[in-house]
């Protein structure tokens, strides 16, 4: 296979070359064959299942669902248009952004899937390892390469991990799925401590990266905060060390019970010390030269990423200040939906996919096309999907914000609620998912409506609300300041409330406050919990802080108080 001339690179994402494109096409043809062998009976459904899962194809309640990988959350405007096309042609005109920065299509036909994968491959996209017991899509900071507090752009290493984990011969039939997140900022925006492996990068000598490695975190049935395995992993050992961790897990992780098969259970069973000893023994025994990540390799991958060419936009800061003074609604949006940028005169914009009464993370084809156009116009043709189910434009001139906000507002994408109570994370729930006990979407919509008043949300301030339709916790309810867990109560859908979860550097696991209630009772109970906070808080205290200071008791009393 000859090297093609260097393709024009997109800002923020790895540019494929002929070898990468050939690989994706071969993978599509492989799956086309597998579908044929399933139809002919050469493969049983049991044998076909992991093969389709490793191409992102799930069988849900009513149809197949296809989960497309968005590596470290970055898509180009043209890729977004491809996603819009797939939604329009093969689905019901919308897609759903997930907590792993991916996109799901919920109404897919099995026989269309090879063609869809082929369309994706043409746009340098795929659905490889978005499911199955393998290394999943590596997630990263939605403000990577932009955030003012960033030490190191984690996307280059995320791409290195994506390539290394792609069709890894040894780690594609692990005991259970394996999720890696990587951040290059002092502030942990990737929930590193809630991943099988969380990597926090910092700069070491000669500007090369050094990683803090967390292991064994996760939510699901057994929520666990990850523990620090290494403090000072040099860049050149990144691949070797992850190989060592995965080998220990593949050899000794439990395979007798899928609910006890994640690496967190192995780490707990062995104890951190013994687990670390096993990893170190493997690391010492392995042929590290084979896996050494040389600076030239890092540089070669980095060279495939285009970086934005910024203009002198510093005058925009004053202009923005003047605009926010005259338009309070705009000011509120700027306050909640923008994030400080490394470059003067620029900021990152989070576009809310959570309008009042809407379905968290759902975006129509028309909105996807609009987002693509806005990315081209305002942010170097680059978009990011966040693990909080929103969309980020990474590099927007401050003097363009007003115009951008007006377009967004006119198209249902201008909600000023990032980090607030209606910026709800919810799993698909019983509307789609065969595992769910309860529907997550209707209660999310009711809560979104209940708290839709902008002034009320501003008053409440920072509050994370997460909803899972079952104990598998895809809505990360344990990590929400307020969490809602759907359960089956004698054949009826019901909801438990958890309080006190958090996913940052001070990660904590929310605790259930009492017995399950109906959907409407739960919505009312949450309103009373929020009222209790507003009454009890000290000046400047966020919800989670009041929660930690007072404990669950006053909130529990409020939740179960009957009017």
């Amino acid at each position: 296979m000859p090297h093609s001339p260097q393709p024009p690179a997109d800002v923020g994402r790895y540019a494929y070359d002929a070898v990468d494109r050939t690989f994706l096409k071969q993978r599509v043809e492989q799956f086309r064959d597998q579908v044929q062998r399933r139809i002919s009976g050469a493969l049983s459904e049991d044998e076909f299942k992991p093969l389709r899962l490793m191409n992102g194809l799930y069988l849900q309640l009513h149809a197949y669902m296809l989960r497309v990988a968005i590596p470290y959350g970055i898509v180009s405007a043209n890729q977004m248009r491809t996603l819009a096309h797939i939604a329009r042609r093969y689905d019901r005109d919308y897609g759903h952004f997930t907590t792993r920065q991916n996109i799901q299509f919920n109404w897919i036909r099995l026989e269309d899937t090879p063609d869809i994968l082929n369309i994706l491959a043409d746009a340098e996209m795929h659905a490889i390892q978005t499911s199955g017991n393998c290394i999943r899509n590596v997630t990263s900071d939605q403000f990577a390469g932009a955030a003012r507090d960033e030490v190191l752009d984690p996307r280059v290493h995320a791409e290195i991990l994506r390539q290394w984990s792609t069709l890894h011969p040894e780690f594609t039939f692990l005991p259970r799925k394996f999720k890696i997140a990587i951040s290059g900022s002092a502030q942990d925006r990737v929930a590193a401590r809630f991943h099988d492996i969380g990597l926090l990068a910092r700069k070491g000598e000669n500007g090369r990266a050094v990683f803090e490695v967390y292991v064994g975190g996760g939510l699901g049935r057994t929520p666990v905060i990850g523990v620090k395995l290494r403090d000072d992993l040099p860049e050149e050992d990144l691949i070797a060390y992850l190989e060592a961790v995965l080998r220990v897990y593949n050899a000794y992780g439990r395979r007798d019970n899928i609910y006890k098969a994640r690496i967190k259970i192995l780490v707990q069973a062995l104890g951190l010390g013994a687990f670390r000893d096993e990893v170190n023994a493997e690391f010492m025994a392995m042929d590290r030269s084979r896996y050494r990540l040389q600076p030239e390799v890092v540089a070669a991958i980095r060279a495939r990423f285009a970086t934005p060419v910024f203009e002198d936009a510093s005058a925009g800061t004053a202009q923005l200040a003047a605009q926010t003074k005259v338009d309070p609604a705009f000011a509120a949006w700027v306050g909640t939906n923008t994030h400080p940028h490394q470059q003067d005169g620029y900021c990152s914009v989070t576009i809310s996919c959570k309008p009042a009464g809407g379905i968290p993370g759902d975006v129509t084809s028309a909105q996807m096309d609009l987002l693509a156009d806005l990315a081209d116009q305002y942010s170097f043709g680059e978009l990011r999907i966040t693990h909080l189910q929103n969309v980020v434009l990474g590099h927007v001139r401050k003097d363009s914000l007003f115009a951008l906000w007006q377009v967004l507002s006119a198209n249902g994408l201008g909600t000023a609620n990032i980090g607030m109570i209606t910026d709800i994370i919810a799993c698909p729930g019983l509307d789609y998912c065969a595992l769910a006990n309860a529907r997550s979407i209707p209660i999310a919509q009711k809560l979104s409506q209940r708290f839709s008043n902008a002034a009320l949300q501003q008053e409440i301030g920072a509050l994370r609300l997460n909803i899972s339709g079952c104990i598998n916790a895809c809505g990360h309810h344990h990590a929400g300041h307020i969490g809602i867990l759907g359960v089956d109560k004698r054949g009826e859908e019901a909801f438990q409330i958890t309080l006190g979860g958090n996913s940052g550097e001070d990660a904590s696991i929310g605790q259930i406050i009492g017995s399950a209630m109906s959907e409407d009772e739960t919505v009312d109970a949450i309103a009373r919990i929020v009222d209790t906070y507003l009454v009890q808080r000290k000046p400047g205290e966020r919800f989670i802080e009041t929660c930690r200071r007072l404990g669950a008791a006053p909130f529990k009393d409020a939740a179960y108080a009957t009017a």
């Binding site: 296979m1 090297h3 070359d17 070898v19 050939t22 690989f23 071969q26 993978r27 043809e29 492989q30 064959d33 597998q34 062998r37 050469a42 493969l43 044998e47 992991p50 093969l51 017991n133 290195i160 390539q163 290394w164 984990s165 792609t166 069709l167 890894h168 011969p169 040894e170 780690f171 594609t172 039939f173 692990l174 691949i239 080998r247 593949n250 050899a251 395979r255 025994a285 392995m286 042929d287 084979r290 896996y291 390799v297 070669a300 991958i301």
Partner: protein, 163 residues
């Protein structure tokens, strides 16, 4: 059952000896528990050991220079422990003999098995060799090194998987 090696069906000259059976002459495959017994049977044929998925490859370390075959097992194709066992036989213990897999695995896993150092596969009767061959040739590039030390493609960790 047919034995696949280097893309061909070959004659399997090995005799699997169960617990409690006397040791015959010729090439024999023994469970790990009978390793020392097998090693004591000097000069009567080659020796191979069957390693269960939960047995440690390192337990073979001393004996390995005197073994010609290690046989690994897939209780079900989703149980991927044999991948790690095979790879560590090759990478850590530099085992140059045959690494065999038995049990339930799929043609779709063939390339992974080869790249972890497996050299012999016991496949079901009536298997269509073309399906295995196609699985081997389907994908021509890999994104990580393996114990086969395939030819670097020239960029990052990419390797050529030319048959």
């Amino acid at each position: 059952m047919p034995l696949l090696e280097n893309g061909q069906i070959v004659q399997d000259g090995w005799t699997l000896v169960e617990d409690g059976q006397p040791l015959p002459d010729g090439d024999i495959l023994l469970p790990l528990s009978r390793l020392s017994e097998g090693l004591g049977r000097n000069g009567k044929g080659r020796l191979g050991i069957v390693l269960k998925p939960d047995e440690r490859v390192s337990d073979l370390k001393e004996a390995l220079p005197r073994l010609d075959l290690v046989s690994l097992n897939f209780p079900i194709f989703r149980d991927g422990r044999a991948f790690t066992q095979a790879r560590s036989l090759r990478e850590h213990l530099h085992f140059a003999g045959a690494v065999r897999v038995t049990g339930h695995f799929l043609p779709d896993q063939y390339e992974f098995l080869l790249r972890c150092g497996v050299s012999q596969l016991v496949i079901p009767e009536q298997s269509d060799l073309a399906v295995w061959q196609q699985a081997h040739e389907r994908i021509t590039v890999a994104y990580q090194p393996s114990v086969l030390n395939e030819r670097p493609e020239g960029f990052a960790f990419r390797r050529f998987l030319t048959p």
